[in-house]
Symmetry: C2
């Protein structure tokens, strides 16, 4: 089996309640990235946040300062996010990644591409209505082609974010037609905590994605869960040769006990599972080499 | 097991090549509906089409004339479609159904509600690019709530069209919050023939929907496949207590041999499978009673 690739999902748009260890500022993110890489992560994924308030930011300066601060401290594969999910203008979605590419110290190694349009309904048992009336994550085929081309033009590897079985069929179509490279890192997202657009974060929910990973693609897939503890899914992925994307951006992980955990502690928990299954851990250099294959 | 409910999907936007038996005009559709009900269908689903050319039509007069012609001939549960898939204006989507309700002879018994927004990518092996750059089937949560409310206000039962696992989670959320009734007819769509937005029309593709039908909903689910022969999936559904939605709108069914088949011949093929499995066939009255349960 491939060595285990761990993507540390550092902060998303998550706030510091209930876990105060979610990083916001470039330096906080970079310190977390360094600790996660030391613990076994090879990819670090971040969203720019206002350093004081944690408010979502689309400031190119913050994105670039974060990438630079990460590279000052460690050898991580740097994956900033694209423009926020209800933005449809291409420049607003990927302009910061193009600007960052002007300097080797600030460039993005990888960017996520969500291979689906979705109605972003929010509901869980006990709620008296489904929320998100107007929220549609709008990713037309043409937009995805353009984002992939613009990312690749500045040397950023697309990461395929998979939301459902249709996403996996589109992944195959994009790989077969050259929109995406045939060797690709794909995160199989499950969603909990009220976000019902994806598969549930259960063994069956994840398996119903794994089972449709296209055979003709050299797909380096990872399990992920937004909104719940993903350690069970991580084990399921590790057993089947898959990889893991996990972090405080998705869930506070208070279940780990003691003080609220850091991102690095969550990565360590994944590494412990991997050791039990005899999976070795990929370094950033090994992950880079794996994803450059073919 | 419930008696088998068969929805005859008469014409969609399919043309008469390669099968000349696709009905266009109100009388053609009504004759087909009558023959399908005689063969075992209890629900008939149609799109209004220009009688001569078959061009898609949104003419309320054609929709109403078709419903009236069907009722003149048989007792089918009448399910016209809603406004075409890239229309976002609510009146354009459901106005014809509201107008039809003014007369008992022309009213819709049931209307389909697609519980997902989707990028409508088209690709199959051999194509050098994915088509559908701008095609997004736009069904925000708020739009679906409004369509369900307006349909129910005129006595039309919503049918839940399911495209992926997220659709099934939204179905549960809508049933639990009263947007949809707890007893509901849901068609589990798989897609072939280049439409890659849904699950593949394979046993695994269908099963990965069946497995997520919400247990707390009284979900009367049917297998369907747009773009390929659905008879194998029909058998899979019949074995598991599900129902079947099928017709020339989805596929020409030349595999049945001899002259190109009619819709009624396709329904007969389903009935033959049901007989082999000991499933009885529901009449329109029995289907009505089943869907009125609770």
């Amino acid at each position: 089996m491939d060595k285990l690739i761990i993507d540390a999902r550092l902060n998303e748009y998550t706030f510091r309640e209930p876990n105060p260890n979610v990083p916001y500022s470039p330096n906080e993110i970079a310190r977390d990235a360094e600790a996660c890489v030391a613990a076994g992560a090879s990819i670090v994924h971040y969203h720019a946040r206002e350093p004081e308030t944690g408010a979502p930011s689309s400031d190119t300066g913050l994105y670039a300062a974060t990438a630079r601060a990460i590279r000052d401290r460690c050898d991580a594969i740097v994956m900033p996010t694209l423009g926020a999910n209800t933005v449809t203008d291409l420049d607003a979605r990927i302009g910061h990644v193009e600007s960052m590419a002007a300097d080797a110290a600030t460039r993005a190694d990888m960017v996520p591409l969500d291979l689906a349009s979705l109605s972003l309904g929010m509901w869980q048992k006990g709620m008296d209505e489904v929320r998100g009336d107007d929220l549609v994550y709008y990713n037309p085929i043409g937009t995805l082609k353009a984002l992939a081309a613009r990312a690749r033009a500045v040397g950023a590897l697309p990461m395929a974010a998979i939301w459902n079985v249709g996403s996996l069929r589109l992944l195959e179509a994009f790989c077969e037609t050259g929109v995406l490279p045939n060797t690709i890192f794909a995160e199989l997202f499950t969603t909990e905590g009220g976000l019902i657009s994806g598969h549930p974060g259960t063994p069956a929910g994840l398996q119903a994605l794994i089972d449709f990973v296209p055979a003709r693609v050299d797909c380096v897939w990872a399990a992920a869960c937004y909104g719940a503890n993903a350690l069970g899914l991580a084990e399921q992925a590790i057993e089947q040769g898959g990889h893991v994307a996990i972090g405080l951006g998705d869930h506070p992980y208070l279940e780990l006990g003691g003080d609220p955990p850091t991102n690095a502690r969550v990565v360590e928990a994944v590494v412990e599972i991997a050791r039990r299954h005899g999976r070795e851990i990929a370094t950033p250099a090994e992950t880079r080499a794996r994803l450059a294959a073919r």
